[in-house]
Structure formats: structure tokens, C-alpha cells
């Protein structure tokens, strides 16, 4: 067997394309095509694709001042793009080599402060100039043509023939009659579908096991500490001040729902204080402790305005009144901030008397109400 084996396979006979090969090659011989100009061929192909070139506005005449000017312009734009690109590379690679270092330190306002803006500006300028150059080229030098392409509606012939092939196969398969097969297929599909999504079960965790949403690291005897871990005594704070405190347990100052505001009320606030029913004795002297986690969307409520006794959540502007048991007085929050029962231990430091009496943070479906 050699590489010029022309045997057409086992059936014998000449190996030529069948009668369905056809197409435009039947209508135009290579000789005819070779005799046509580029423009003619272009239009012929376009027409074959249902496109008619209606109107061509040729570009500027070769050698005309208009053309020279456009060429100069576009050449300048592309050159500038190249310049910007090279400059960007030089600054990127050269910083710390023959240019000052690019690494920025807070105090510095020299080269390293303009490194990123410079690289970005030149990078961007190079890209923008390439884009501008391309658009200018199309607008100023290429011929402007208007072409019209036909839109074809759905073909009845295609629909009938394709439909026939499908329906015929459906008939031949006999699925409509062979009920056992369709039913077993449906059964199989259901089973396989479930099996394929089954591994997602690994994601599911029971949110009610151990009540993680309703409990915090606070419990009886846990000290109230600052972010740095130092404990707090009554008298450390001025009246009217607020301090964020955390439970003195490992990781307590990073726990998502433990942050608490320890507030020392001013005398007039103490006089006006109307705690929630049944929660009048949770504070200690003029100190009260409320959860810092907003009951609306869980942001830390952080802004305390002691003149109005209001605490504002910066996320959605819920406002809580400290002298009314941290009841929401404005905004989208619907529940008061839970209060932490506090007292002072033998060493004179603030400790929690228990965990919060209710779940802190945003409301959820089966949250216990008190």
C-alpha cells in the first residue's frame, strides 16, 4: 500500500463526491471565479449570504491632503500608544532598579506614591490610544459602506423535515407503547437526580443543636474585659460614657455575638431610667450592659449620643434608647438590644451574672421571645 492509494474503499467505483455535493460550486467554475475582480467576488459572496451592498462612500483619495492628514493623525495616535506602553513597562520594571523603589511607606510622598497612578495612567492611556486609533482608522480611512441583510423567517420546509425525523424516531422507539420502559426511565431519572445532589447533604447542619444562635460565651462569673483583655471596675468610667466589653474567655474579643456595651448612666439618666418589665435589676448601680449586636441586621451599634441617651446603628440607622431598656425608637430595628445581667465579683471587677436572657443579634424564625 502506498500513499497514493486511490482505491475508494470496499465498494469499488470512482471516489467522487455524490450529487448532493453541489452548491455554488456548480454555478461558478473556478475559471469564472478567477476572471472576476476582488470587488465582484466580494459582492457575489455577500449576495450569496443575503447581503446587498447599497452604498459605498470611498475613503479619502490616495495622496489627497485629507488622506495624508488622516494617516499622520492615526500614525501619531498609534505611536503615542506605543510610547505610553513602553513608558509603563520602564516604570514598572525600572522602579527599584535605576528608578527609586516602588514600595510605599506611609510617610513617603515621593516616587512610590505616584508609582501606581503612573503605571495605571500610562497603561490606560496606551490602551485608550489604541482604541482611538482603530476607531479613527475606520472613520477616516476605510470606505463607509451601507449593507442590507435579509432576515429569514422560520422555514416551513425545515420545520416539516426536521419534525418528521424526530417524530419518526419517536414512533420507531415505541416509547409511547412500551410503558414499562418509560416508567422505569422516570424512576431511574428521579433516583439518579437525587443521588447526584446527595453529596450536598454534607452542607447541612442543624442550627438548633446546642442552640448556637441563642447562646454567647457569657456565663455566670465571666469577667467583662476590654479589647486588650483588661478587666473593668466600677469607677473606671465617667458617667455618661460607653465602653465595649468582651467576655474574658479565649477568643472572647473576636466572638461574633459577644460584644457588649457597658454604659455608665448619668444621674439624670438613672432618674429617667425605665427598664423593660422584669429586667429592672440586671444593671449594677448606675451601670447597664447591652448587647452591641443590632437586633436588625447584626451590625455593631456604635454611636452613642449621651445627651439624648440614644445609640445609633450606622448600618441602617436604627436608634435605641438606653434609658428605656435599649428599646428601638426609630428605624428598622424592631426589638430592644438584649441586656446582660452584671454584678461585681469578690475582687471588685465586673462579671456577668449569666448569659443574655434571650438571643442576641438579628431575628430569626424560631427565636424564643421573652
Amino acid at each position: 500500500m502506498n500513499t497514493h492509494d486511490t482505491r475508494p474503499g470496499s465498494t469499488g467505483g470512482a471516489d467522487t463526491p455524490g450529487p448532493l455535493h453541489g452548491g455554488p460550486d456548480e454555478d461558478y467554475t473556478p475559471e469564472q471565479l478567477a476572471a472576476m475582480s476582488l470587488d465582484e467576488l466580494d459582492r457575489l459572496g455577500a449576495r450569496y449570504d443575503g447581503v446587498e451592498i447599497m452604498h459605498v462612500e470611498p475613503g479619502p483619495e490616495p495622496g489627497s491632503p485629507l488622506e495624508k492628514r488622516a494617516v499622520r493623525q492615526i500614525g501619531t495616535v498609534f505611536t503615542l500608544a506605543g510610547l505610553c506602553a513602553f513608558a509603563s513597562v520602564v516604570i514598572y520594571a525600572g522602579s527599584g532598579w535605576f528608578l527609586p523603589t516602588w514600595q510605599w511607606s506611609v510617610s513617603e510622598s515621593g516616587w512610590s506614591a505616584i508609582f501606581t497612578p503612573l503605571v495605571g495612567a500610562l497603561f490606560g492611556a496606551a490602551m485608550i490610544l489604541v482604541g482611538v486609533g482603530l476607531v479613527l482608522y475606520t472613520k477616516k480611512l476605510l470606505p463607509h459602506e451601507t449593507a442590507v441583510q435579509d432576515k429569514h423567517d422560520a422555514s416551513a420546509f425545515d420545520r416539516a423535515t426536521a419534525g418528521a425525523t424526530l417524530v419518526r424516531t419517536a414512533h420507531n422507539s415505541g416509547l409511547a407503547r412500551r410503558k414499562l420502559i418509560t416508567r422505569s426511565l422516570a424512576f431511574m431519572g428521579g433516583g439518579l437526580g437525587l443521588m447526584l445532589i446527595m453529596p450536598l447533604g454534607g452542607l447541612i447542619k442543624n442550627p438548633n443543636t446546642g442552640d448556637p444562635l441563642g447562646t454567647t460565651p457569657w456565663k455566670q462569673g465571666v469577667r467583662l474585659t476590654r479589647l486588650d483583655g483588661s478587666p473593668i471596675r466600677p469607677g473606671d468610667q465617667e458617667p455618661g460614657s460607653l465602653e465595649t466589653v468582651f467576655p474574658a474567655v479565649p477568643g472572647g474579643n473576636r466572638a461574633a455575638n459577644a460584644a457588649t456595651m457597658l454604659i455608665r448612666l448619668r444621674p439624670e439618666q438613672v432618674a429617667a431610667n425605665r427598664p423593660r418589665p422584669g429586667q429592672g435589676n440586671l444593671g449594677y448601680g448606675d451601670y447597664v450592659a447591652y448587647s452591641k449586636i443590632c437586633t436588625h441586621a447584626g451590625c455593631p451599634v456604635s454611636l452613642y449620643e449621651q445627651e439624648t441617651s440614644r445609640i445609633l446603628c450606622p448600618c441602617h440607622q436604627s436608634q435605641f434608647d438606653v434609658t428605656q431598656g435599649a428599646k428601638p425608637v426609630f428605624g428598622p430595628a424592631s426589638r430592644p438590644l438584649p441586656q446582660l445581667p452584671i454584678t461585681v465579683d469578690a475582687s471588685g471587677y465586673f462579671v456577668a451574672r449569666s448569659d443574655y436572657l434571650e438571643a442576641v443579634g438579628p431575628t430569626y424564625w424560631n427565636r424564643r421571645r421573652i
Binding site: D49, Q103, T138, A147, Q149, T363
Partner: protein
């Protein structure tokens, strides 16, 4: 070799033979010719979707770069990088690597900012593209499917944004994450289960950054890519819509062929989008995470705002009243559920189903390939204006604290302005938009009937002054135009119908010979220069005059 040299039309150049070799193997020239000959309508508003596509490409490129340095882990580390103020601070590995990417990787900050800017551009261009499709009726049959795919892609783009800006684990993104957690918890019945499935436990856990990461870099982009491909295949299959105009019908597309005009312009646009993102990424600081500090659930900055495209949800959350629904059996539907899950869900559902809704309401089930001018469909335009107003009120309310601060307004007042505004303003916008549409329609009809105001005042023999109108086409015996409105813009200035010569080209000095241009213009048979001899100006066209088409200003020059 000899055989190919003699065959007629056989390629003679090296490039030509290569192309022929390729075509011999792939039989690709037919497909290539069809592709190159495909006609694209030429209108700037058709580029909006392309901008979205190209910014997505920029996002893929820059995002891939960022993954080389980002560590999506919530392991606690002490920062030891080169940004002095945070050195020694405990933070998550994610934030640590985002800082190192910004300060210790050459050009890393540029790439991070480029990525963020491209993301903003991506969502913006999708939204503007959507508005264009909406107001011009491009979503009508047969394009409802592509509309729905587009809305799904918009939602995915928002998810891309949320999962993306949550990754650095700084104080701002952590605050956003906390709100996402609260929103998940607020879903009735299954909320806590969904939350525990996504966060792998209660907030915050150690899994969420890693899970958001894989969603952000693989899951959602893969779905988006598949949908983009589908969107484009359907677009190519159905061909573009076009605005009505000369020679444009429901059965053709008038414009430029893909090659070379459209391809060159599109390539130019790729570079422009990339360039603008890059310039912004270098010049305009965005999300300076080193200023926010590491996330701590007990800390927050004032004016914590999400990226612009989530602002409307932040706003609805701020405005919605504290309406918890306490159900029997100690069950609660939190107030937070309504402004986030329900409002957002309803907005996007209505948006996705709008083509079906409009089809039901108007009973218009025909195929449309010609676009509508917004004024010609006043109800839709007014509905759109209404929806936009609602959205804008929510969006502004998402920053109501900043507005209150900067303009020294009470924060509570801003909240009430938003609450009342979101109910009162949309209907007002509807009425105004509707009236504007009718007014514009009427003016089009008036110009078609009475002609363009020329600004030329004539005094009639009886002393009456009239303004001469230029009819746009043939007139009847009363001097009224006989052209019908065709859905295309009606020229309303003399310059638009060649009332003036075209400007001589040249920016600083003329690059053409004015006399030459004038000659060309005469030859082209349009404009005043050509029409000098047979210009026909009619009267104001007021019916009371009974029309004077014959003597309507023909011989008189305005200065007479």
C-alpha cells in the same frame, strides 16, 4: 506544486497558500465568509452590551492575576507586611494576603483597583444596556428568551460583586457579610438552615471566605460564561434589531458588515474599555482596604456603604418599618425579610417576566425587529420611569446618612423622605413621563403636518406676520404635509434636512477647500446650495389661512 500553480484562482502568495491549506483541512471559508458578511446595525446604543462583555473579559484577566496572590483563608495571622500602621495586628489570612497584594506585589494595587473598577463598569453597562433594551422594546417577541437570560446575568453579576467585595475580609466587607448573614437568618422557616449550610455554622465561622471565593472565581463565572455564550448565539441567530429609518424593515438589517468596519470598531471598543478600567485603576483610588482595618464583629465604620449596585437594597432595608410578624407558636417573620429578600425577589421577577406581562396586557404577539422610540409607547416608558424613580429613591436612601451629614439634615427626616418618596414619587414620575411622551408625539405630528419652523418671519399684504414653515414632503391643497409618522426621528431643524452646508473639515484650520466642498454639495443634490433654484417655502400652514402652497414665500428672500 505544478498542479496548484496552473489551477485557475489558485493562490500565488505565501499567505494565500497557507489560507488554502487551512481551508483544505477545516473547510472553513464558507463559514468565515458568512460571518464576515453579517450585517450589524450602526447605533451607539448597541455598544452598551458590548461594553459589558469586554469589561467581563477584563475582569477575567485581572481576576486571574489576583488569584495568584490571594489566600482565601480565615486562619488568624499577625500581619508582618510592609504597611507599617497594621504591623503586628491579628487578622485573617485573607486580609493579610489582600494587604500584601496591595503593598508587596509590584503593580498588585493597580491590578486590584483595575479589577474593582472593571466590576463597577460591568454592572453599570449591564444596567444601561437593559434600560436601552427596555425603553426601545427590543425584548419583544422573538427576543423574550434573551431578555430573561440577560436579567439572570444581571442577578449573577450582582452576586459576583457581593462575593467579590466580601473577600478581602476587611472591616467594611465584614460588615457587609454580617448583613448578608442577617438576611439569610430572616428567611421564614428555612432561614437558619440556609444560613448554617452557607456559613457552615453560626456567623461568622471559618468557612465563608473560602466558600465565597470558589463561588466568585469558579461557580458564578462559569455560569455567566455559559449564559453569555447562549446570549450571543441567540443574538446572532435572531439578528439585531434596528431603529426604523430609510430602507429599514422588519425583514432586513441595515448597517455595516462585520468585516472590516464593525470588527475594527468593536476591537477599538475592547481597548477603550480596558484602557478606561486601567486608567481608573491607576489614578482613582477605590476600596483602600488598609484604611478599614481587619474585621472585628464589634467594630464598624460610619458611612459603611456597599458598592453602588447593592445600594438600592441597603436603602430599602433602611426605609422599611420595624414590622416583625409575630406568629403563634413563638415563630417570627423578621422585618428584615421584606425589604431584602421579598423586594429584591419581586423586582427581579417582574423584570424577568416583563416581556410576558406586556404581551398579555397589549395582546401584541407578533414578531418585532424594528425598535420603538420611547415616546411612541407612553405606557411602557412611563412604567420604566416609575420603576427607575422607585429604584433611585431606594438607592439614594442607601446613602441617606451621608446626605444627612453633608447637608446637615436630620437623619430621621431623610428616612421619612425616603419612606414617603418611595410611595409618592413613582406615580408622579409615571404621569410626568406619560405626558412628556404624548407631547413629543404631538410635536412630531405637528412638524410632519405643518413643516419645520424656519425662523423666517414674513409680513402678509394684510399686515399679518407669519413664520414660514418648510414642509418635509409633498403637501395637500391646504398646505398640510402628507407624510405619515414612521416611527423614526422627525427632523425639526433646517440643518437636519440640509438647510445649511456641511461644516468644512479641520480642527484648527480648514483641511478642505471651501469652494470645492460647495461644488461637491451641489453635485450631491442636497442642501441649500443645490436647492437654491427650486426651494419651496410655504406659509405657517395654519388652517385658518386656508393654505397658500403656491405663493407661500416662493420668490421672496427672507431679507426682503
Amino acid at each position: 506544486m505544478a498542479r496548484t500553480a496552473t489551477a485557475p484562482g489558485a493562490p500565488t502568495t505565501k499567505l494565500g497558500t497557507t489560507a488554502a491549506e487551512l481551508d483544505d483541512r477545516l473547510v472553513i471559508s464558507g463559514w468565515l465568509r458568512r460571518t464576515m458578511n453579517k450585517v450589524y446595525p450602526d447605533h451607539w446604543s448597541f455598544l452598551l452590551g458590548e461594553i459589558a462583555l469586554y469589561s467581563f473579559i477584563v475582569l477575567l484577566l485581572s481576576g486571574t492575576y489576583l488569584t495568584l496572590f490571594f489566600d482565601a483563608s480565615m486562619r488568624e495571622v499577625a500581619y508582618a507586611g510592609s504597611y507599617a500602621p497594621l504591623r503586628g495586628v491579628e487578622m485573617s489570612a485573607a486580609y493579610d494576603s489582600a494587604l500584601r497584594l496591595s503593598f508587596d506585589v509590584r503593580g498588585g494595587l493597580f491590578m486590584r483597583q483595575l479589577h474593582h473598577w472593571a466590576a463597577l463598569l460591568f454592572v453599570s453597562s449591564i444596567v444601561v444596556h437593559l434600560l436601552r433594551i427596555f425603553f426601545t422594546g427590543a425584548f419583544r417577541r422573538p427576543r423574550e428568551t434573551n431578555w430573561t437570560i440577560g436579567v439572570v446575568m444581571l442577578v449573577l453579576a450582582l452576586l459576583m460583586g457581593v462575593t467579590g467585595y466580601s473577600l478581602p475580609d476587611d472591616l467594611l466587607s465584614g460588615t457587609g457579610l454580617r448583613i448578608i448573614s442577617a438576611i439569610l437568618l430572616s428567611i421564614p422557616v428555612v432561614g437558619t438552615w440556609v444560613h448554617f449550610a452557607i456559613f457552615n455554622g453560626p456567623y461568622v465561622g471559618e468557612s465563608i471566605i473560602g466558600r465565597f471565593y470558589i463561588a466568585h472565581v469558579l461557580l458564578i463565572p462559569a455560569i455567566l460564561l455559559a449564559l453569555i455564550a447562549l446570549h450571543l448565539i441567540i443574538l446572532v441567530k435572531q439578528k439585531h434589531t434596528q431603529f426604523p429609518g430609510p430602507g429599514r424593515t422588519e425583514h432586513n438589517v441595515v448597517g455595516n458588515r462585520l468585516f472590516p468596519t464593525f470588527a475594527a470598531k468593536a476591537t477599538g471598543l475592547v481597548f477603550l474599555v480596558f484602557g478606561v478600567s486601567a486608567a481608573l485603576g491607576g489614578l482613582v483610588q477605590i476600596n483602600p482596604i488598609w484604611l478599614w482595618g481587619p474585621y472585628n464583629p464589634a467594630q464598624v465604620s460610619s458611612a459603611s456603604q456597599p458598592d453602588w449596585y447593592i445600594g438600592f437594597l441597603d436603602g430599602s432595608t433602611r426605609l422599611f418599618p420595624a414590622w416583625d410578624m409575630n406568629l403563634p407558636g413563638n415563630y417570627t417573620i423578621p422585618a428584615l425579610f421584606w425589604p431584602t429578600v421579598v423586594i429584591a425577589g419581586a423586582m427581579f421577577t417582574v423584570l424577568a417576566l416583563y416581556p410576558v406581562i406586556e404581551r398579555k396586557l397589549t395582546g401584541d404577539t407578533a414578531s418585532h425587529h424594528l425598535l420603538q422610540r420611547p415616546r411612541d409607547v407612553p405606557v411602557r416608558t412611563a412604567l420604566g420611569a416609575m420603576a427607575l424613580t422607585f429604584y433611585t429613591v431606594l438607592w439614594i436612601s442607601g446613602g441617606n446618612d451621608v446626605i444627612a451629614l453633608k447637608f446637615d439634615i436630620s437623619l430621621n427626616a431623610m428616612t421619612w423622605v425616603g419612606r414617603i418618596g418611595m410611595i409618592v414619587l413613582p406615580p408622579i414620575a409615571y404621569v410626568i413621563a406619560y405626558r412628556i411622551c404624548l407631547g413629543l408625539q404631538q410635536h412630531d405630528r405637528e412638524v410632519l403636518e405643518h413643516g419645520i419652523e424656519t425662523g423666517v418671519i414674513r409680513r402678509l399684504p394684510n399686515g399679518e406676520f407669519i413664520e414660514v414653515h418648510q414642509p418635509l414632503g409633498p403637501v395637500d391643497e391646504h398646505g398640510h404635509g402628507e407624510l405619515a409618522y414612521g416611527g423614526a426621528p422627525v427632523p425639526k431643524k433646517m440643518n437636519q434636512i440640509g438647510g445649511a452646508r456641511r461644516a468644512i473639515r479641520g480642527f484648527f484650520s480648514p483641511t478642505e477647500n471651501p469652494a470645492q466642498v460647495e461644488l461637491e454639495q451641489r453635485a450631491e443634490d442636497r442642501g441649500l446650495a443645490a436647492a437654491e433654484g427650486d426651494r419651496e417655502l410655504t406659509s405657517s400652514g395654519r388652517p385658518s389661512e386656508g393654505g397658500r402652497p403656491s405663493d407661500g414665500g416662493r420668490p421672496q428672500e427672507p431679507r426682503d
